[in-house]
């Protein structure tokens, strides 16, 4: 009971985070268009800011995508096997994903030590902040993959309604 409430709150937080990043990206790029075409005074930082927001959206959105199971695969096993066996291939597939993600978390964290001293070209922020999206997003993907795996083994699939 505690766990399900905890994860529900986590889902909502991620969804809100995504909505805010998305709104931020729209505002920044709209401002870019506005300043260039209407005020004739192009912004120097908008493209870079938009890109880094986009990187965060990509990896945090991918984490939400793992939970809502929207990353498509080839459902050969689902067609061939009865549900009682199919859930074990779901578990296996999630285990493979988890090993991959652990490696990405490890190497993605390691790379932070190198890029933290680099500065972005136009905003002059440490490249640590955009690069952090890779290990942080992968960590949430890992957590959600474990949730999907456990719910599949227990035969109680997670519902797929995106809630805020």
């Amino acid at each position: 009971m505690f766990f399900s409430t905890f994860f529900e709150v986590m889902d909502r937080c991620i969804n809100w985070f995504l909505a805010l990043l998305m709104a931020g990206m729209v505002v920044v790029i709209t401002a870019q268009v506005w300043y260039r075409f209407v005020l004739n005074d192009p912004l120097s930082w908008s493209e870079e800011a938009g890109r880094y927001l986009f990187v965060w959206i990509s990896f945090m959105g991918a984490a939400a995508g793992v939970r809502y199971q929207v990353h498509l695969g080839i459902d050969l096993m689902e067609k061939l096997l009865p549900p009682s066996l199919h859930r074990w291939t779901v578990a296996l597939s999630n285990l493979i994903i988890q090993v991959f993600l652990l490696m990405i978390i490890y190497w993605g964290t390691k790379i932070l030590g190198i890029v933290r001293f680099q500065e972005s070209a136009s905003m002059h922020i440490s490249m640590l902040y955009p690069y952090m999206a890779v290990p942080v997003g992968s960590a949430f993907m890992f957590i959600n993959s474990v949730r999907v795996m456990i719910s599949a083994i227990r035969g109680r699939p997670l519902d797929r309604e995106v809630r805020l």
Partner: protein, 425 residues
Amino acid sequence: MTAFLFLSLIICFIIGVPIAFSIGVASVATLEFASNLPLTLAAQRLFTGTDSFPLMAIPFFMLAGELMEAGGISRRLFDFAHAIVGFVVGGLAMVAVVAAMFFAGISGAAAADTAAVGAVSIPAMIRKGYDRGFAAAVQAAGGSIGVIIPPSIPMIIYGVVGGVSIGKLFLGGFIPGALIGGSLIIVSFFLARRAGYAGDAFQGFKAIFTTFIGAFWALLMPIIILGGILGGVFTPTEAAVVAAVYGALVGFIIYRELKLRDLPRIFAKAAISTSTVMLLIATANIFGWILTAERVPQNVAAYLVSLTSSPLILYSLILVCLLMVGTFMETSASLIILTPVFLPVIIQFGIDPVHFGVVMVTALAIGMLTPPLGICLFISCNIANIQLSEILRYILPFLLVMIGVLVLMTYVPEIVMFLPDLYGD
């Protein structure tokens, strides 16, 4: 190393690991076990794959489509199409196709097109006594036009991966999209006549005018997008953000159906749909790097050149390959993996990359109508509340005419290239 890469990829596919992760797993496993390239570079390439300004057009176009949809646009497009063609025999089926063509002008995804228009048209057809399987099949076929008529998310991916002008690709999609829409309308007319589906009463020219006013703001959107890109005013990404803001303004101010409290959910959903594509692009960025290091595209090119020197035969081979891949693989994944492999050969044979891009996207769009992985079929079946087997009987004639148009546009390049050539460089 290449063999290891592809073997692990296929094993992941068979187990059912999502394609984006399969590509990542195969790449990382290859780097770990079959090479001495450092893995920090894998993490870095995940980042650089998503750090792209042109690809940002994807979330904005998704958002524009979602906002328009929440603003009640699909019903208005349906009403307008209904006023124009609803009175003909099998009218509702034609309305479904025409409305899907209109919606294709504001949405860049076939799934969104099928879902948005289908939610209105499929229940309407069923109420009118159409067979559920037929109703679902018409809508699935019509919805696949969503990626052919601009804007188009697959064309953005192709343009970014292959370094081809997105504006020209968009222009190239117009005539093929119209041709496919036209042939779907003709097929549904004959099928409906045989089944005896009558049309509704003609509502008069006044109805055409009033429904046109309702649909006007949505129909204006593709003109703003293309005009902006081709006039050199906007980059495709900027045009996409203008489309999203425009969609929100129309929904809030003109249609008044969009509510402020709907926004966070729409934004979050657009972000999640975007990230499914972006995760693919990120992991494919590692995959592609290994392929390049192993000179795979060059080897494939050399092999194909050794097979034939005729562009027509080469095109036929690639077309068959794309249609087969399209049946079991998702469109963005196919584009990301196959574009870098095929494009060098295509250029070597003197085929225009814009022409090839539109042909490739159309071939993969046909794949959305074929099992095992036919996204438009799934969505349509879901709305019509039927099993996949019930739609398959009806989808075949639509598939055949679409393949017919595909072959035509492949061997008569002017169909695709007329508008981009008119626009010039």
